[in-house]
């Protein structure tokens, strides 16, 4: 049962991932990416990581994809242009093939354990207890806020610079 569900979800993930790189229009690529991220959320859901699944939808599909859609709107006139084929793709194809073959050997050779834990592990309560109840994890938590702040300031700085030109 689980393996069938997983196969369907993986098929959707891979097909939409192929859609991302093979679409002629940038908008279609972004929308395929949205489907892909949603199906990754489904993978989290079948692994009993419900909080992660919801966050995947909220942050990635609801936030990052919309950001990418806006970025697409920002690009100049090539919105209606077809995506250009890079002139020389042979080295890229070769490199990607070598990487893929290596990855395939690694996947086959590795002895995989199931990541699926009991539902309790992935629950919001458990994650909350892990972050806030252990004293030593407090500093990383505050550092996250600093990282976010740095990201925000940096993005604003770069964005204003781009807008100024």
């Amino acid at each position: 049962m689980n393996i069938i569900v997983f196969s369907i979800i993986s098929a959707i993930t891979i097909l939409s991932a192929i859609g991302v790189i093979s679409s002629q229009r940038i908008m279609h690529s972004v929308l395929s990416l949205a489907v892909m991220l949603l199906s990754v959320a489904a993978v989290y859901a079948i692994l009993n990581a419900e909080f992660l699944a919801v966050i995947q939808v909220l942050v990635y599909t609801g936030g990052v994809i919309v950001l990418l859609l806006f970025a697409t709107m920002l690009t100049r006139s090539d919105l209606q242009l077809k995506r250009e084929q890079p002139s020389d793709i042979k080295p890229a194809v070769a490199a990607a093939s070598i990487f893929a073959i290596g990855l395939l050997f690694y996947i086959v050779g590795n002895n995989w354990k199931s990541l699926k834990g009991p539902a309790v592990v992935g629950s919001v309560k458990n994650i909350g207890m892990l972050i806030f109840n252990v004293k030593k994890d407090v500093i990383p938590f505050e550092i996250i806020s600093l990282v976010l702040l740095a990201a925000m300031v940096g993005a604003i700085f770069l964005g204003r610079k781009e807008a100024g030109q």
């Binding site: 859901a45 079948i46 009993n48 419900e50 909080f51 966050i55 909220l58 942050v59 609801g62 936030g63 990052v64 919309v66 950001l67 806006f70 970025a71 709107m73 920002l74 690009t75 100049r76 006139s77 919105l79 209606q80 009991p118 539902a119 919001v124 309560k125 994650i127 909350g128 207890m129 972050i131 806030f132 109840n133 004293k135 407090v138 938590f141 505050e142 996250i144 806020s145 600093l146 976010l148 702040l149 990201a151 925000m152 300031v153 993005a155 604003i156 964005g159 204003r160 781009e162 807008a163």
Partner: protein, 128 residues
Amino acid sequence: MGLAEDFIPIVIFIIVGLMFPMVMVFVSSLIGRQKKPEPDKYLTYECGVIPTGSAWMQHNVEYYMYALLFVVFDVETVFLYPWAVVFKKIGIFATIDVIIFICVLAFGLVYAWKKGVLEWMNGGASWR
């Protein structure tokens, strides 16, 4: 099975949510107007004028800046929700943590505010 019980209904909702519009569009195509409309009906609407140029053009950078801020605050909420859920079980220490966390990000909001990211630019003209 744990969560299956909770997620199966959502899967069914997704299936039905995709099927229902299909059925409605199909029914509409059966009983709807069959006559082929005249070619002008396929024109893009632009108040009766023949449209000039494509709508796919460059937009303001403001939209993008709002989306950027949104993603940062979105990630913030990801950390605040687990705190809220376990709030009763943990001490005041965690509350102080979270208040510092919020203050740091509020500083980011103030920075964006001061830099004028939250203003709508309107192509240089200023609005009151």
